[in-house]
Symmetry: C2
Subunit: 160 residues, 2 copies
Amino acid sequence: MSETLNISDAEWEVMRVVWASGESTSQDITTVLNGKRGWSQSTVKTLLGRLTRKGYLQARKNARHFVYTTHLDEPDSLKQELEGLLSRICSRKIPNLLAYLIEKTPMIAKDRAMLEQVLRNKQVVAEVPCDCYPGQCTCHLHASGTILSQHSNEEISHEN
Amino acid sequence: MSETLNISDAEWEVMRVVWASGESTSQDITTVLNGKRGWSQSTVKTLLGRLTRKGYLQARKNARHFVYTTHLDEPDSLKQELEGLLSRICSRKIPNLLAYLIEKTPMIAKDRAMLEQVLRNKQVVAEVPCDCYPGQCTCHLHASGTILSQHSNEEISHEN
DNA sequence: CGAGAGCGTTTACAGTTGTAAACTTTAATT
DNA sequence: AATTAAAGTTTACAACTGTAAACGCTCTCG
């Protein structure tokens, strides 16, 4: 339905306030972000405008003022942003990345137990296919026709 | 030493080619990215220029042409980009995010075993502190002075 | 040695982002 | 009803991105 979610860093700061309080006035948000980032009311208002235009926030008229709410879910939104980043590397390398994340994330015993449980239930496959475009991953080095010509002695054909 | 790594999506496409082949000429890269994204030689050259200026790529003069290399490590670079995203949510919520990532990442048995091992070795703490700025996380709702003023009690909910 | 091929550099240009001032509309107060 | 304060809207503007054409230097081939 929605296009790819696209929330900038500054916009995310605003979203966090809305997510935290459920409903926020422009003033609420300004108070928080002025404290955290020193932003002026103008800045927050611009961000609110952009987020509303993008459809990520709804402005509802309250007795005196506008109240902003969102239909977006915070963890879901972050997941979407994560997808983009994770697609930057070969899917075969992602488990290693996960290992790193697990190592560096502080957690309590319950978290660890939960993750262990998830892992225990995890279905594995016989082989994870490399999803990279040839020439962007070493998985393809041994593949048949490598796109790259070995730049050595031969001169190059100029296509167009 | 280096500032926060900052590689845009388009630049990353170029980096991937260099990472994959170790050494690439502008032409190598153009070939790959023309195939994958339809980019012209000009586009690739611009990107190469920007990456070189940022210090992410080195241009070394070979016999006839330039060869680009990098000192950056691909997984490390991605980790750095990930940090930025992960700092968008409360550190207490990260384990749940990890659970999601584990679930959705296809892996082979060895990967799962490796992750299980990592988890087994994982040190846990008694409590994970909320690292959010007050007003940006519900962890702070019960904290003493809430920054946000409660806006009026009367609710106007015209939800559709 | 001159011409063309190849490659890096400069310039271009629209769209997004970060930050904010100025302007306008609306609602509360006197 | 006029004034004013608050909130939304418009305008601003530089930096960064995505995409690419034009320009210029150098190396190689004839």
